[in-house]
């Protein structure tokens, strides 16, 4: 498959989806009764958190594919997915802190399981790259990174479940039986989630295309004898 195929379509779709999502957030979704205008952060923070956590799990699944097939492309995909999830995770932490400050009056609440569990996940994945690049042998590096990605990827849903079962309900619950979003808000949330997923896919595709181009370039220079 040619490098960067479909990137233009993906990019245009992402920009369009982001535009529609922003339009819905600021001009269609009603102002929430309790939090008021501040609740608009919800349409950014929560979809980003969901996409980021799903990215970590996806990275684990790709790592399984790598260990099963020994195909280095799966390792590359797993690496890029986790890398991108980490970037989005940083945005989640920052927007969450801003929302917490506006809503609760504190930048961070250590007694809130949702915040702390997300921080734990982020700290766990922050060790992924140092671990990976501490190993010089590419074969071993890919294998160890895949094992890490699978273990950490399994930890993410368990962590999510543990938080759900916890008793504290300071942090608003979005998905689940207690969710009672009115239809305009639910629609806006759905579109925002789709837009964030598209953004994630686009950034991953760009990163993959860049990495593959560099690999191809190295290979070409080697074939031509410029090694």
């Amino acid at each position: 498959m040619p490098i960067g195929r479909g990137l233009r379509t993906l990019s245009i779709s992402t920009v369009a989806a982001m535009g529609v999502a922003l339009g819905l957030v600021f001009f269609y979704a009603p102002i929430e009764a309790e939090e008021g205008f501040l609740q608009k952060i919800f349409y950014l923070h929560v979809p980003l958190a969901i996409v980021s956590l799903c990215g970590f799990v996806l990275g684990g699944l790709m790592a399984i594919a790598h260990l099963r097939t020994r195909d280095q492309r799966w390792d590359l995909r797993s690496y890029v997915t986790i890398h991108m999830s980490l970037i989005l995770g940083v945005v989640v932490l920052l927007t969450g802190a801003i929302w917490a400050r506006g809503s609760w009056g504190h930048w961070w609440v250590w007694s809130e399981p949702t915040l702390v569990s997300f921080l734990i996940v982020m700290l766990l994945y922050a060790t992924y790259q140092p671990l990976r690049f501490a190993i010089e042998d590419p074969e071993r590096q890919a294998r160890y990174a895949s094992v890490f990605a699978i273990t950490a990827g399994a930890f993410v849903p368990m962590n999510f479940l543990a938080v759900r079962l916890s008793s504290s309900y300071l942090h608003p619950r979005v998905l689940g039986s207690s969710s009672n979003l009115p239809p305009p808000m639910a629609l806006t949330f759905g579109v925002s989630l789709g837009a964030m997923a598209l953004l994630f896919a686009t950034l991953c595709s760009y990163e993959l295309a860049a990495k593959r181009t560099r690999i191809l370039l190295k290979s070409s220079s080697r074939i031509l004898g410029y090694r």
Partner: protein, 108 residues
């Protein structure tokens, strides 16, 4: 800008909302800028490779062939893109192995 600010509801945390969205777009923008820098580096390497590929290969002076000599020409080791040339003492006086084109593994 002032008219836009006037449309925002006052005293309902609009500053926090603006801050959150600005942080998001700023990080995405920084990431895209980093990608652009990396792309320009790749483009520069491609140009360099293209320029080198257009030149005739640099070969060391061959000893004059005697009548009846038959054999494969030795591949001269070419420097890597952007790498300094290796000195003779770094190769421990041995002739470097000719490179065989192999498929590059997709490693990070």
């Amino acid at each position: 800008m002032n008219s836009l600010a006037a449309t925002l509801p006052q005293g309902t945390g609009s500053g926090y909302v603006a801050a959150a969205y600005i942080v998001f777009f700023a990080i995405v923008l920084i990431y895209v800028a980093i990608m652009a820098i990396r792309l320009s580096r790749v483009e520069r390497d491609v140009r360099e490779l293209h320029a080198r590929a257009g030149q005739p290969p640099q070969q060391p002076p061959q000893p004059a062939a005697r009548p009846g000599d038959v054999g494969e020409p030795q591949l001269a080791e070419q420097p890597q893109l952007g790498a300094r040339p290796r000195r003779q003492d770094e190769t421990h006086g041995q002739t470097p192995e000719p490179h065989t084109p192999v498929r590059e593994r997709e490693t990070v």
